[in-house]
Subunit: 261 residues, 2 copies
Amino acid sequence: MKEIVTVLKTGGNVIDHPEVLDAVLQDFALWTTKRIFVHGGGKIADRLMKQLGMEPKMTGGRRITDRQTLDIVTMVYAGLINKNIVAKLQQHGCNAIGLSGADADVIPAVRRPVGEVDYGFVGDVNAQNIRTEQLGKMLDTGLTPVMAPITHDGQGTLLNTNADTIASSVAIALSQRYEVHLVFCFEKNGVLRNPSDDNSVIDVLDETHFRQYKNKGIITAGMIPKLENAFDALHSGVAEIRICSPEGIKNGGTKILKFPE
Amino acid sequence: MKEIVTVLKTGGNVIDHPEVLDAVLQDFALWTTKRIFVHGGGKIADRLMKQLGMEPKMTGGRRITDRQTLDIVTMVYAGLINKNIVAKLQQHGCNAIGLSGADADVIPAVRRPVGEVDYGFVGDVNAQNIRTEQLGKMLDTGLTPVMAPITHDGQGTLLNTNADTIASSVAIALSQRYEVHLVFCFEKNGVLRNPSDDNSVIDVLDETHFRQYKNKGIITAGMIPKLENAFDALHSGVAEIRICSPEGIKNGGTKILKFPE
């Protein structure tokens, strides 16, 4: 039987509220499975850019990353947010180690080719290239990786990479060696039947029901790519996926299944 | 016989010149001994502070680190500079891993007590507390640590720490397991007989001659604490110390010895 590794991804809305983040970190530090923390942090980067007179550029929810923006996200994600999370986890007795994808070459990436949009210094990740042996060594020696959404191209250039993509790619890659549980922690209580009612959480969602809810327009907008990615991850070997709020990180939220239970 | 580990510390003046830094990194990447890279980065932090309308505060060459300044140095040292160095070393085939002192708890520190000056979030390091086993594990698995001058207090707070102190403390700590060679790379060619003549390098300097030069006023100012620290490190187990320019990192500069050769 494979050992369990839990990959917890926390989004910008959690990172932006120190008291919420701290509660998540305290809880996470107490988990007894091997585990990896993946964080985003968009809003802090936006604030710093505005303070410096720069204008954040987004298209389709993705950041256009020119050279100056790359420096900002490198500072904010891999520096400020990552190291503060590591220090807090250390405080709570969890031997955390902060990593960008360049560190120990854990996540090699490819700069996104210019198509209709030039995203600039944005990296795409292939789960097959992730250094699972290196991450495995860290996990096996009691370290807990804390991963910032920054990767590199192997040619000396850092790349801005979507944190959800990092979390699911790492989860898929580690599924070769471990039973991987992937948890997406964000501001809602889970996948909702009614986006304006936070109590309308769908407890369990399999792919057939997801397609039905999607066709009926019950699940919409930003949740669709999140769930498409989740089903891709399940088809690629991830054992279990949950989408939940900070209060539900242990067992709450929506459990995503390939097939009905 | 102990295996050799080389600790290379590069100062702010090297970090500030991308082409000089890149030449150092290319050279460092080719070294065949186990090795650790320690970097500072003061001027980039100063520039960012000024862009944000903050006024860098220094006393006796040391930075007063209030909460906002701590965020800046965490971003610049542990994020921007550290991750770019790691990406460049990866490009040159060196499997680098960037670390603050909080990562894997490698450098626990103590916040400097308030005396005549309140330095704010500044950390003092005791070589005995450095996690040599953790650093040893990384070195033994082929990783090259790249250390930013940021530590932590174990209570969730990051601390700004002098990069020279990090380099010599790590060198002292690792001397238990390895034969440690410590190299300080800065803007001058070495310890100079005449500060205005860059060709007046003292090739070899032992402690007796250092005291004589100091008493005669030949060695002055900023070089004195650097050399006092160097002799402390030699007395604490470090095998060899050199002070040199980027061009001399392999064999040039001033060799510091406990006793005359």
